[in-house]
Symmetry: C2
């Protein structure tokens, strides 16, 4: 049923995917409690609006996939220290800061099924609390004191911002190439996934090969994750996605499903895409027509195929590590990122 | 002529103040050329909108007071290394990032006499390029590799964000205390002035007393600078200030001149302040009446007196350093910050 708002993934696979994230959470449950404690502890400020606003987003039931990856990487490589706890919190702070700024930039009203912070407290507070969390992330890193970790995470932060700006300049431009699309998502999403995994390798001091493998796993996983996210914007059920279906469409964000449907479209269809995505002249029924066209041209199913390609690369990046529960679970996380319905 | 838009400072003192900043620029002219080169070099990105937008603000003729202070601190303490060049650029990047976000938060249309970046490229790009510059600042610090410098500047960044949020929560609230006002400006402005001076002390490794003295000088100077800035918003000529006179008034920002006029006002005047600052119900002539009331109650002249108090503390903080050209000039910079007409 590609022409409807139903998920493109099979219900069975979605269920298996959910089991994978449960297994990941179970694997690192003890460490994650400490991470959550650190997050709550370090988002405090005498300026009460800061923990109030940050807490709204942090307590809103995100999966905390990135810090989970930081912790699971530790199990994969047999790291026995405690430094990854603080770094996992730091990764989540950077992620939260970018979410706050993204929601301002995208004028989003809903995230994870709740009103966004900018809807409740306004853009001003969201921008500034994002800045605070970002600075606080650096304070946490400095406390850890590893200069290579600092280099990796400060570089990742620059790359994220570059990716977001690049995305802004490609919005409403249907001539965007698939390469540019990949450049945007590699920067805005995959860079932090990669850093989240890599930093555990750095503090465990097991050498370059281990760090590279972890970074590659994170990077490919992040690319797959974002590609699927972009597909879900045209296919997920609003209740499970926790955001409004069609957000990207309404903003004229040129993501992979749009790129494929546009490239495979007739002249008449291209006129439709130009009006809706470039001129942002949208009428009732346009989102449904967009989804219908994507179905007709296999744009959503092929988008997921592209994601599976990067997912396979993520799994192969783990080849250097011996079999273990952690490895099995991290393989499952790849499936989760691809087959998830939310 | 306190009841007019004319400067509260005497023309003679304004002229002497300008000479002080000229002397500061001459003192560190060679180093500053390298700082400017580093700034231009490190704001580059393959995403062209980034150097374009950042360059607009960076090239707009700001005084670059903070990096100048980083460099002059080096001369004051006889530092002969080159590490302060990169740190000065880093301080200016942090400052520029906060300006970009401030202009979004304040919805400013003019800065330094030019259209703001958010007016030209929109809020979205300003938020994201601010994030980029902020991340880039951390990359520069990491390259320097001094963990204490990293701690000082990441802490300063958190404090700046805290101060900005606190300012947001005190806007339109005439019951704000002078203590809270001071807390806001110490955080949003003085923290970076302090860090800008302190970091040179850290890399020159001359001990805690030197670092403390430099930090104290910067902190008191920053407080004086911001108090004067808040007075100038009701008194400077638009052409020299390079921003619109009355911006704070229009936003209902409760700064020291307002606090003093409010506290010294009659019941009738307080009704006026409540309507204009708390309800933001403003009519033509209201700004002129606000300035008139400030004149009647010596609110602007007493605001400058408060600034002089912190200026004196800044000068005294330099007591531990022997007489030198640099010391003389840094003393003069205090006068500049207080007596400047812009």
């Amino acid at each position: 049923m590609p022409a409807s708002l139903a998920p493109v993934q099979s219900a069975e696979k979605v269920k298996a995917a959910a089991a994978a994230i449960d297994a990941l959470q179970a694997l690192v449950a003890d460490d994650m409690r400490e991470v959550n404690k650190t997050i709550i502890d370090r988002m405090q400020s005498p300026v009460v609006l800061i923990p109030q606003l940050a807490g709204h987003l942090i307590a809103s039931g995100g999966k905390r996939l990135r810090p989970l990856l930081t912790l699971a990487s530790g199990q994969l490589i047999g790291y026995e220290g405690r430094r990854h706890i603080k770094l996992a919190a730091c990764v989540e702070f950077i992620h939260t800061a970018t979410l706050l700024h993204d929601d301002v930039v995208d004028e989003s009203k809903l995230r994870r099924g709740q009103e966004t912070a900018n809807e409740i407290w306004g853009n001003q507070a969201s921008v500034l609390v994002g800045d605070f969390l970002f600075s606080r992330a650096f304070e946490l890193m400095v406390e850890d004191g590893n200069l290579r970790v600092l280099a990796i995470l400060s570089r990742a932060s620059s790359i994220i911002a570059e990716g977001e700006v690049l995305q802004l300049t490609t919005a409403n431009d249907l001539s965007t190439s698939e390469d540019t699309y990949l450049e945007v998502i590699a920067a805005k999403t995959a860079a932090l996934f990669a850093a989240a995994c890599e930093v555990t390798g750095v503090v465990s001091e097991q050498g370059e090969k281990v760090e590279e493998a972890l970074a590659a796993y994170g990077r490919y996983l992040g690319i797959a994750f974002q590609i699927v996210d972009d597909a879900l914007d045209y296919s997920a059920k609003q209740a499970t996605l926790g955001k409004t279906v069609g957000d990207d469409f309404r903003e004229g964000k040129v993501t992979l499903p749009v790129l494929l449907a546009w490239r495979r479209g007739t002249d008449d269809e291209r006129t439709f895409w130009r009006r809706t995505m470039e001129d942002l002249d949208q009428q009732p029924g346009d989102l449904e027509r967009a989804i219908h066209l994507m179905g007709q041209h296999n744009a959503l199913t092929d988008t997921l195929e592209r994601a599976r390609h990067y997912g396979a690369m993520a799994k192969d990046a783990l080849a250097i590590f011996p079999a273990s529960d952690a490895k099995q679970i991290l393989m499952g996380v790849v499936d989760f990122c691809i087959e998830r319905g939310y």
